[in-house]
């Protein structure tokens, strides 16, 4: 990481830290919080989907389990952090439980298997926990968005930072080797199952923590809601819009997805879904590698042009 990049990241973090101090409007803080929530969720999906090449269509199950256990423990009087941590660990336990049989499946079968498991959990939770989980009036009287915003900010930094360290480690290289060619990786002594299980566990842990943070944030919802498949598909879309298998991709994807959709919803009301859908199709069609790849291509084209111009100038100089 270059010095310029470090300064840019430090500046960005400083802006995010100062945002609630400068902006006093709850709707802006709420929007920023939602962006952070989706950064957490999309980045956690990216660890398994983007870096390890395993398309997980059941990510909402980990998010939901984190939300379910955190809400239950927190509302029963536990302090927040142990509750959230318990949510993350429960998600890991479930991931390990399903991981070993699920990783016997590959490609589309793995994707379908995870989707089926998540749907089973969604329906079961809906049947077993059918009552609304709302904050009590005394909780609402003291409810503040700002601590929740900071909680998500720290979580987003934790997930992004961990992903950065992970992809630059031996473990991360192993994960990427599995993504590129599983058989080749195995032949070089990289255990595909071990790497996939580790990636799944880390991904589930962060999704569980994100679910826990969601339980801390949301004022009233049915326990089945965080298990709904939209959480998985929205996260996936964000990763692909931004750039799968990159650190910055899920961040850009979440920013684009949440902010653009919200702005369209506020300005166009009934037409916003159509417009957003068209916009999404255009991004997928013309930027197949997401914004990150488009940026890299632009940089490469710019460098090539500069080089050509440089050569031309030097030729002209020689002629003179």
């Amino acid at each position: 990481m270059g010095r310029k990049q470090v300064i840019f990241i430090a500046l960005l973090i400083a802006i995010l830290v100062l945002l609630p101090v400068v902006v006093k409007k709850d709707n802006i803080i709420n929007l920023a919080l939602l962006v952070l929530l989706y950064i957490c969720l999309a980045s956690s999906w990216n660890i398994l989907g983007g870096y390890t090449g395993q398309t997980n269509l059941g990510h909402a199950a980990f998010f939901g389990l984190g939300a379910l256990s955190t809400r239950f423990l927190w509302m029963s009087g536990w302090s927040l952090l142990p509750s959230v941590l318990a949510g993350g660990l429960l998600a890991v336990a479930f991931a390990l439980l399903i991981g070993i049989p699920a990783f016997r499946l590959r490609g589309v079968y793995f994707a379908i298997g995870t989707l089926a498991l998540a749907q089973i959990l969604y329906i079961t939770v809906g049947n077993v926990f059918s009552d609304i989980s709302s904050l009590r009036p005394q909780d609402l009287a003291t409810y503040q968005l700002v601590p929740r915003y900071y909680f998500f900010l720290v979580l987003a930094l934790l997930i992004t930072g961990t992903t950065y360290l992970l992809v630059n480690s031996k473990l991360g290289l192993g994960m990427m080797a599995v993504r590129e060619e599983e058989e080749a990786a195995e032949s070089l002594g990289v255990s595909a199952l071990k790497h996939k299980l580790l990636a799944l566990s880390i991904s589930a842990f962060f999704a569980g923590l994100s679910g826990g943070a969601f339980a801390y944030y949301h004022v009233g919802y049915y326990p089945r809601f965080p298990f709904s498949p939209e959480w998985t598909f929205d996260s996936m879309m964000m990763v692909y819009i931004g750039g799968a298998g990159t650190i910055i991709g899920p961040i850009i994807g979440a920013l684009f997805f949440v902010v653009v959709r919200e702005l369209l919803a506020l300005k166009l009301v009934e037409l916003h879904l159509i417009v957003f859908g068209i916009l999404f199709i255009l991004v997928v069609l013309f930027l197949p590698g997401g914004f990150v790849e488009a940026w890299k291509k632009m940089q490469a084209a710019f460098a090539r042009r500069s080089k050509e111009r440089g050569v031309k100038v030097s030729f002209q100089t020689t002629d003179d």
Binding site: G126, N127, S130, D131, R136
Partner: protein
């Protein structure tokens, strides 16, 4: 590397704990900036003007241009079919009030028009929360109008409580939302206790003793409302001389009801109570016809409210009764005009949820006028003290925010939804007993 990873995670977690506990407290000053709404209702001629009291000679503060009211409605997504019934009710009511110059606010000594801003929350509680925060921060609304479905109200009513903004919501019968101690939630819509009581009172009033369907089968959906309402039916039945012979539970989106139906048939059940969603209800009745069990009386809330019930089931869907909350055949002041407007725009009389939505705005306008100010707490107190006539009939509120409103019973007859109770409002006679499916 692994050690670095673990160290970093521990450090960030500790920082997280610190930040969460030491986070500054935000101030929630209402913003002064008022953003242009996406929708400004146009005034029409259909309104009933109210007399504007003469202004007093005391110097009054400058009046705002509009009374800002906001609504987050599911216009798309799984509750979209409900939200699209609710929206015209709000819009038409605001149009009618504005056509008469708006609402008289004593504090400013003049009538001020209502500006209603509506957002689509896509049937997503998180997006609904976001929309209500925007309405509060950007539009500085004096009141919220709710969407549809208990999923949505659970989230939005809590935000209203948090922001201390009066909230009027319909299209949910769940009573437990009102039992949480919320102060700002009001709902002029029949709730489970009324639905669980009225069905027995209607049956006893309409059917002579000896002919009543005293053996009841209850098919309970495994949801909070299902648990609440079916539990109350079961509890009330013996008090009115009825016996619950079958009480079965099923998960939403169940496709096979045959076991439950056969149990009801074997137990000799004469009446069926339930609240299935549209697909569940259609599957249930198709299988009842196939298995040859016809209840003499069916109270099925929710599924048959949609016009597609009659189209899909034909004669099998006939004679089913519903507690919809309202019907366009009611004879209260304003219903005829509302139907005419709805007919002109949509080619049919007002939908079942449109009347209660219209009433919400009537109640709010009346409360603002009585409060004489745009202060949210004063408006909240005025709503709580409501005692007025609306398109859904007379309305008052209980301390928990539930409305004391009429709970009409409607019935599918000849492919139409007819109002059958109360008798003074009825558009058709109550039909009982329902003939067997194979003789229709």
């Amino acid at each position: 590397m692994r050690a670095r990873l673990v160290t970093m995670m521990v450090v960030v977690f500790l920082v997280s704990a610190l930040v969460t506990n030491c986070a500054p407290t935000p101030t929630q000053a209402p913003p002064t900036e008022v953003v242009k709404p996406t929708e400004t209702p146009k005034a029409t001629e259909a309104a009933k003007p109210t007399e504007t009291p003469k202004p007093t000679e005391v110097s009054l503060p400058p009046a705002p241009e509009f009374i800002e009211v906001g609504a987050s409605i599911p216009l798309t997504g799984k509750f979209g079919s409900l939200g699209t019934q609710v929206k015209p009710g709000y819009v038409f009511a605001v149009q009618d009030i504005n056509a008469a110059g708006g609402v008289y606010v004593k504090e400013y000594g003049k009538k001020i028009p209502i500006r209603l801003t509506i957002y689509d929350d896509e049937s997503d509680p998180t997006k609904a929360v976001s929309k209500l925060e925007t309405l509060y921060a950007e539009q500085n609304v004096v009141a919220y109008l709710g969407g549809a479905g208990s999923d949505m109200h659970a989230a939005t009513a809590a935000i209203a409580e948090k922001n201390k903004v009066p909230y009027l919501g319909i299209a949910f019968a769940l009573y437990s939302i009102h039992q949480q101690g919320y102060k700002y939630l009001f709902s002029p819509f029949p709730k489970s206790p009324a639905q669980a009581r009225d069905v027995f009172e209607i049956l006893n009033a309409e059917i002579p003793e000896g002919e009543r369907p005293t053996k009841i089968a209850i098919f309970q959906e495994k949801t909070d409302w299902g648990k609440e309402l079916c539990g109350l039916w079961k509890e009330n039945a013996p008090k009115y001389g009825y016996e619950v012979v079958v009480y079965e539970q099923y998960a939403p989106k169940t496709e096979d009801f045959s076991d439950m139906i056969l149990k009801a048939k074997a137990a000799g059940a004469e009446a069926l109570f339930g609240m299935p969603t549209q697909p569940d209800g259609v599957a249930m009745f198709k299988q009842m016809a196939e298995l040859g069990w016809t209840p003499k009386f069916s109270l099925i809330i929710r599924a048959p409210e949609n016009v597609t019930w009659g189209e899909t089931l034909g004669t099998v869907g006939e004679y089913v009764t519903i507690f919809p909350g309202w019907h366009h055949g009611e004879k209260f002041p304003g219903v005829e005009e509302l139907n005419a407007k709805y007919q002109a725009e949509f080619g049919r009389p007002a939908d079942l949820l449109t009347g209660p939505a219209y009433a919400c705005v009537q109640i709010l306008a009346n409360a603002i006028e009585r409060a004489g100010t745009l202060d949210r707490d004063a408006i909240r107190d005025a709503i709580a003290a409501t005692d007025m006539m609306t398109v859904v009939g007379p309305v008052t509120f209980n301390a928990d925010g539930t409305g004391n409103v009429l709970n009409p019973l409607i019935q599918w007859q000849n492919g139409k939804l007819e109002l059958v109770w109360p008798k003074d409002q009825a558009t058709a006679d109550f039909f009982y007993p329902a003939p067997p499916f194979d003789q229709r």
